[in-house]
């Protein structure tokens, strides 16, 4: 196999993985801070796609910018959803018991969002016919799809911004404290409820932005979440629960594995490669790539 052919596989995989990565870090943040498995994550992404679409159609805003503009409204939406629904079943301190309740709660939320969107906006798929969706940058012998390249760069930027927020600001420190040890954080004067709400808001905002980026080349319809939700969860767990860089790397790994699997397996079995890799990683490193090992006793 030519080196350039292999390089094309790698590059394709990275670009695909970049958007998976952005989708996943929101989920990782929510899980890391709140221990919530948000079934509805993909549906918020879908809503983000629709908002970006309306920015594009109604105000002629380029979807790349539109994706950024989904951040504020979805942050607020996340806060609202947390306050109204999630806060009632989480944050009480018994994560194992709570996980049951919020699984179903977020599942119910997912059903409501998907079906309401079908009813209100109709199931007809829409698309932003961005010109750069079918153009590529030629870098030597390699072709990099433009839409996916922009999406990749933006995903990196947003992930870096989140990372900076978490590591360099007081808010970030408070979030991480609330994630590590809610009780102790409480004693330090951190309102854990508010931290949970903030984490949820940020997580929703990020996945909505990911949706906006996705909308540059992917059709928009109410059930789009179903294609990505499993990969999102796999990325988060693969990277190690609670680790934001882990989720990002997890997303990239999935994209890469999807692409490189084609060197070994027929196209039909592409995702088998992803799931097998996922299992192998977990069996070798049960806490995920970047996860922290729980203390034994």
């Amino acid at each position: 196999m030519h080196a350039s052919e292999l390089a094309q596989y790698v590059v394709t995989g990275m670009l695909v993985g970049g958007v998976y990565a952005l989708m996943s870090i929101g989920l990782a943040l929510i899980f890391g801070v709140m221990r919530v498995v948000n079934f509805a994550q993909g549906d918020f992404m879908m809503l983000g796609m629709y908002l970006t679409y309306y920015y594009a159609i109604g105000f002629h805003v380029d979807p790349l910018l539109g994706a950024l503009l989904t951040l504020p409204p979805f942050f607020l939406l996340g806060l609202l959803v947390h306050r109204t629904f999630l806060a009632r079943v989480t944050g009480g301190g018994d994560p194992n018991r709570e996980m049951d309740a919020q699984l179903i709660l977020t599942l119910g939320l997912s059903l409501v969002i998907t079906n309401a969107t079908t009813m209100v906006l109709s199931p007809m798929p829409r698309g932003i016919n961005a010109p750069y969706a079918s153009k590529a940058f030629a870098v030597g012998p390699l072709l990099l799809n433009q839409a996916r390249s922009y999406a990749f760069l933006m995903a990196l930027a947003l992930a870096a911004a989140l990372y900076a927020l978490l590591t360099r600001t007081d808010l970030g420190r408070a979030l991480r404290a609330a994630a590590d040890d809610p009780e102790a954080a409480g004693y330090q004067g951190i309102d854990v409820r508010v931290m949970h709400g903030t984490a949820f808001g940020l997580g929703i905002a990020l996945v909505a932005a990911a949706g906006g980026l996705l909308a540059t080349y992917h059709p928009i319809e109410p059930n789009v979440a179903v294609n990505f939700i499993v990969l999102m969860f796999v990325a988060v767990v693969l990277g190690g629960l609670g680790s934001i860089p882990g989720a990002f790397v997890g997303g990239l790994v999935i994209g890469l594995v999807q692409s490189l699997t084609l060197l070994l397996l027929p196209l039909q079995l592409q995702n088998v490669g992803v799931f097998v890799t996922f299992l192998l990683v977990l069996y070798v490193r049960p806490q995920g790539l970047f996860g922290r090992r729980a203390r034994a006793v």
Binding site: Q8, Y9, T12, G13, V16, R88, N115, T118, P123, M124, P125, R126, G127, N129, A133, S134, K135, A136, L143, N145, Y217, H218, P219, E221, P222, N223, V224, V226, N227, G255, Q258, S259, L262, P266, L267, Q268, L269, Q270, N271
Partner: protein
């Protein structure tokens, strides 16, 4: 927060009861002839189901406006739709529900071949004749007596489509030497590709240079299109039934500048959303094989449809469903009864050559063999031109001549 429980409970109770209160129960006369439509109306395939419903409703309104079923004293036709949702369980439940709730004379549905398989099983047990536009061969290979398939089956379509395509190539001095198969592994596509792969292409001396089949959803189309670019087939048989997958492939084809004739397999390639999502320039020239598409002589019908629904054009799903309703009407007229068994008897022996039902299909004859397949059923080739799909082959019923690109 505790105080919120009561108002939340009230709101929830209202939500639960409102639909019952707000939706008017359709008034029904005892002698209405009821037709069931089981199709996905919510969930992933809602769009397709809704298109079917549009076709059915148009036919029913026409028939009722013309005086209903004459043989039953002007009895009206009524549609009973049931949402197949997005799972086989729901589809079969919908069929059971609608067929046992009231006396249904005949039924139509359900777009997805797996749904159709389950639904027709219910119809067979409950002895209600059922019409389907699915192409899958196995729908009429089960020895059922109540299932009728108006579309040519995939294996037959494969053969006939290949003949048509080779013929066109020969006539225009562009013989086909290399072909590619690009599609997903859903049943309809599999049934079409199998005979091509196994014997038909070889029989015509065509080399199969690329065989790219994926499991939906497709992550990225790069490897597929790279293969196409490397092997340069004269024609690509294309079976991407999942809209986002199809969009990806077509965008990538454009991105890589691959020039090849694309021959789709199925009506999923002629929905209006392609134009809005990829643009009409990209779609121009792309062809697909379908079971039905508005043909020469159906301009009035299409105009009426566009006016009623606001859809930019009419495609196979509403057209076939329209034809199915008219066919049922004919059968009821001939049977002089709304009894499903009597209708089945008529359907098994029917031979229609005129009327809205046969006119919507090619060739314009509706007669079923002992398996329930329409004899002589032949596919139509449709081509995108200027952002709209037109029937191009067979030329006798074409609404526009075929345009060859490259």
């Amino acid at each position: 927060m505790r105080r919120l429980i009561r108002p939340v409970a009230v709101v929830l109770a209202c939500l639960l009861l409102a639909p019952f209160a707000l939706l008017p129960v359709p008034a029904r006369a005892a002698d209405d002839v009821k037709i069931a439509l089981v199709a996905p109306l919510s969930g992933r395939w809602a769009r397709q189901g809704q298109l079917k419903k549009m076709g059915a409703e148009m036919a029913i309104d026409e028939i009722n406006a013309q005086g209903g079923i004459k043989a039953l004293g002007g009895a009206k036709l009524v549609l009973r739709e049931a949402d197949a949702g997005d799972s086989v369980e729901k589809a079969v439940s919908a069929a059971q529900r609608v067929l046992t709730r009231e006396k249904i004379s005949a039924g139509i549905g359900s777009w997805l071949s797996s749904f159709t398989l389950g639904v027709t099983e219910v119809a067979e047990r409950l002895q209600v004749p059922w019409l389907s536009l699915s192409y899958a061969d196995n729908i009429t290979e089960r020895g059922f007596k109540y299932t009728f398939q108006t579309s040519p089956v995939s294996s037959v379509q494969a053969e006939q489509a290949l003949d048509l395509v080779v013929e066109v190539g020969r006539k225009n001095n562009r013989p086909i030497k290399k072909a590619a198969l690009v599609g997903d592994n859903t049943a309809a596509t599999v049934f079409f590709f199998k005979p091509l792969r196994e014997k038909l292409l070889a029989a015509k001396g065509i080399e199969l240079v690329a065989d790219e089949v994926w499991t939906p959803p497709l992550a990225d189309a790069t490897s597929i299109v790279q293969k196409l670019r490397a092997t340069q087939p004269d024609i690509v048989f294309y079976g991407a039934t999942n809209f986002p997958d199809s969009v990806q492939v077509l965008q990538k084809v454009k991105e890589f500048g691959v020039k090849t004739a694309i021959q789709g397999v199925g009506a999923w390639l002629v929905t209006p959303e392609y134009v809005k999502t990829i643009g009409k320039e990209t779609m121009d020239g792309i062809q697909t094989v379908v079971a039905a598409h508005p043909m020469k002589g159906q301009e009035e019908l299409v105009k009426k449809f566009k006016q009623r629904t606001g859809e930019p054009f009419m495609t196979q799903d509403p057209l076939c469903t329209y034809a199915h309703v008219w066919l049922i009407k004919e059968a009821v007229e001939q049977a002089k009864s709304a009894d499903p068994k009597a209708i089945r008897e008529v359907m098994a022996k029917i031979d229609l050559t005129s009327g809205p039902a046969p006119s919507s299909l090619y060739p314009s004859r509706i007669k079923f063999d002992e398996r329930g397949r329409r004899t002589g059923a032949s596919p139509i080739i449709v081509q995108w031109q200027d952002g709209e799909p037109y029937t191009v082959v067979p030329t006798a019923v074409a609404t526009r001549p075929i345009v060859l690109h490259k």
